[in-house]
């Protein structure tokens, strides 16, 4: 899951990004509306945490830009210090999916992000499951059957992306775009390495493999 955090308060944006990265998201940060739009045109983000009031181009304008660009754009979570009804209506009318008033509890921000990202998937449960592979996003735990998996943050993020797209062939580029942030070097084999360790951990007790390699195309999570 690739996220963009936009806030002109540099230390707030950095803290939010740090917290979200620890929850296994790939997070980029920018500090004004124009940079956000340039970034959004470049990368297919899954969700944008957008500050409403920024000097120059504000969050509402960025939100409208995202919605003009097409219906499959990222989810938008508006972060704002303004909390009147008119402010909320404005924000939601501009195309925001959710609205969170500053100062917020980071746990709530995390829950809302999970909730927004969940809306795209067919089953609406808080626990992702395909076959006997399960991942609990809120607790950041994963299981194969009854066996708990010890996953790094990146492996967890990768597993979550697989679980969100079961049966789909996911290319290395797509995984790099959605699971790694722009700090990742696209020319390394980091995707291949991480998929490899995740696959090993998933079958460590001799279970049948669930991540298949589709030669020349990418990887696929299959139901067992």
């Amino acid at each position: 899951m690739r996220l963009l955090v936009v806030d002109d308060e540099v230390s707030l944006a950095e803290a939010v990004a740090r917290g979200l990265r620890r929850e296994g998201y790939a997070v980029d940060v920018c500090h004004d509306g124009a940079a956000a739009i340039a970034q959004l045109d470049e990368v297919a983000y899954d969700l944008v945490c957008l500050d409403r009031t920024m000097p120059g181009m504000d969050g509402i304008e960025v939100c409208r830009h995202i919605r003009r660009a097409g219906s499959t754009g990222p989810r938008v979570l508006l972060l704002t210090a303004r909390d009147t009804v008119e402010d909320r209506v404005d924000g939601l009318d501009a195309g925001a999916d959710d609205y969170l008033v500053k100062p917020f509890a980071f746990a709530e921000l995390g829950a809302r992000v999970r909730n927004l990202l969940r809306r795209d998937r067919p089953q609406h449960a808080a626990v992702l499951a395909v076959g006997d592979v399960r991942a609990d996003e809120a607790r950041r735990t994963a299981f194969r059957g009854e066996r708990a998996l010890e996953l790094t943050t990146k492996e967890f993020a990768l597993l979550r992306y697989f679980l969100l797209h079961p049966g789909e062939v996911l290319s290395q580029e797509r995984l790099l775009d959605h699971v790694w942030d722009h700090a990742a070097d696209p020319f390394t084999n980091t995707v291949r390495v991480t998929v490899g360790t995740l696959r090993r951990k998933l079958s460590a007790a001799g279970e049948p493999p669930v991540i298949e390699t589709v030669v020349g195309a990418g990887y696929r999570l299959v139901e067992r």
Partner: protein
């Protein structure tokens, strides 16, 4: 409504009392006059006389009585007629009294009713004003009386009331938007603090450096909130900011403002220079003026690029702003060699909580009220503020104040 009803009752009582009193006086005068007139010259004496040419006959009105021994009869007739006349007069007066008292009673009742109705009509606008005043809650100050009718005392009262409501509504709206903006400004540093602390605490593997960073951010945010709260209090001390009227030398104000920021300026490798020539006297509050100038210097010292110069100056100017030793205006300016301010931003920098998109300075300790406070202080002194800026070449912020003329100098307030 009780107050208006009691006035109505008092007005109708007063009205009917006056009408009744005047009626009573009139009736009394008529009665007295009538009774005097009736007692004064009995009709009998003027109407009974001996007929001319025949002394044996008496003429009473058109009736002629002829008898012998006229002398005695005349006396008898006259006496008898007198008795009758007296009785008639007595009765007439009695009838008059009866009718007059009845009439007065009726007048009292009628005047009471008329008074009640009239007072009600006069007081109807008062009831309307009361009703509107009562219906105005704290949240709906938009209602007005808008009294129709002639331009009389009550209409003027209602109009005055409307004008007062408009002022109150304006002040209330201003207050509300101020609180709204202020809470918004307070939330941002709070959010920075809270998120940083929570994210740092939630990480069990956070290194001491990471924790220290989070604490440093929280500390800066707390400092920023402190400045904001101070400025909010300064700003909220309203009611036409009280300014003293002692004689102030702007040269001293400049020196104080410069002294206060010398350390901050050298920390950022800035040269802070005071340019004062002679005495520039104004009437005002030295503390407030120092605060205003300090706000300007603080901005310059915060934003000017390292290695540049910040100049604080004061002087006098004529009506068109040209330097003039005995001009009517005193000015003090802060000039930096910073990035300057875009033309479209220049008009708005003095607005409350306005944020200039600098791209940097995000972490800076600022409240968004500094320049607004400067403008307030200048206005309270009967002066104004100004800004000249060329993007890329620096900005000059100025405060203009009415100068103390030569003869005023040295006269303490």
């Amino acid at each position: 409504m009780r107050r208006s009803a009691s006035i109505r009752l008092r007005m109708s009582l007063l009205y009917s009392g006056v009408v009744f009193g005047l009626g009573a006086i009139l009736v009394a005068l008529v009665y007295v006059g009538l009774s005097r007139a009736l007692a004064g010259q009995p009709v009998t004496e003027t109407q009974v006389r001996t007929m001319e040419g025949d002394p044996s006959c008496l003429q009473v009105g058109g009736v002629i009585l002829c008898e012998r021994s006229v002398e005695t009869r005349e006396v008898t007739v006259v006496d008898e007629l007198k008795v009758v006349e007296k009785a008639t007069n007595q009765r007439a007066l009695e009838r008059f009294r009866t009718v007059a008292f009845g009439g007065l009673g009726g007048l009292f009742v009628v005047s009471l009713v008329v008074g009640w109705v009239l007072a009600g009509r006069f007081l109807a606008p008062v009831g309307r004003i009361t009703g509107v005043a009562r219906s105005i809650g704290e949240t709906d100050l938009s209602r007005r009386i808008r009294l129709e009718g002639p331009d009389d005392e009550l209409k003027r009262l209602a109009d005055t009331f409307d004008a007062m409501l408009a002022r109150v509504e304006g002040a209330f709206e201003e207050q509300r938007s101020f609180i709204h903006e202020a809470s918004h400004e307070l939330r941002n540093p709070l959010a920075v603090m809270r998120t940083n602390v929570e994210v740092a605490l939630a990480d069990p593997d956070a290194s001491p450096d990471e924790l220290r960073d989070a604490l440093a951010v929280a500390g800066r945010s707390a400092e920023r909130m402190g400045v904001l709260v101070d400025d909010l209090l300064t700003y909220a001390r309203r009611g036409a900011p009280e300014v003293g009227r002692e004689r102030v030398d702007l040269g001293v104000v400049v020196a104080e403002a410069v002294e206060g920021f010398r350390a901050a300026a050298s920390a950022r490798d800035l040269r802070l220079v005071a340019e004062v020539t002679g005495t520039v006297a104004v009437a005002g509050d030295a503390g407030r003026l120092t605060q205003a100038l300090s706000n300007l210097v603080a901005n310059a010292v915060r934003l000017a690029p390292p290695g540049t110069m910040v100049t604080v100056a004061c002087g006098r100017a004529d009506e068109s702003g040209r330097p003039a030793a005995e001009g009517p205006w005193a000015w003090t300016t802060v000039t930096d060699e910073g990035p300057g301010i875009d033309v479209e931003e220049q008009a708005r920098v003095f607005e409350r909580f306005h944020r200039v998109p600098t791209g940097a300075g995000d972490e800076a300790v600022r409240s968004g009220l500094g320049l607004t406070i400067v403008r307030r202080i200048a206005l309270a002194h009967g002066g104004s503020v100004g800004l000249r800026s060329t993007p890329g070449a620096g900005s000059t912020f100025s405060i203009w104040l009415p100068a103390l003329r030569g003869e005023d100098v040295g006269s303490p307030a």
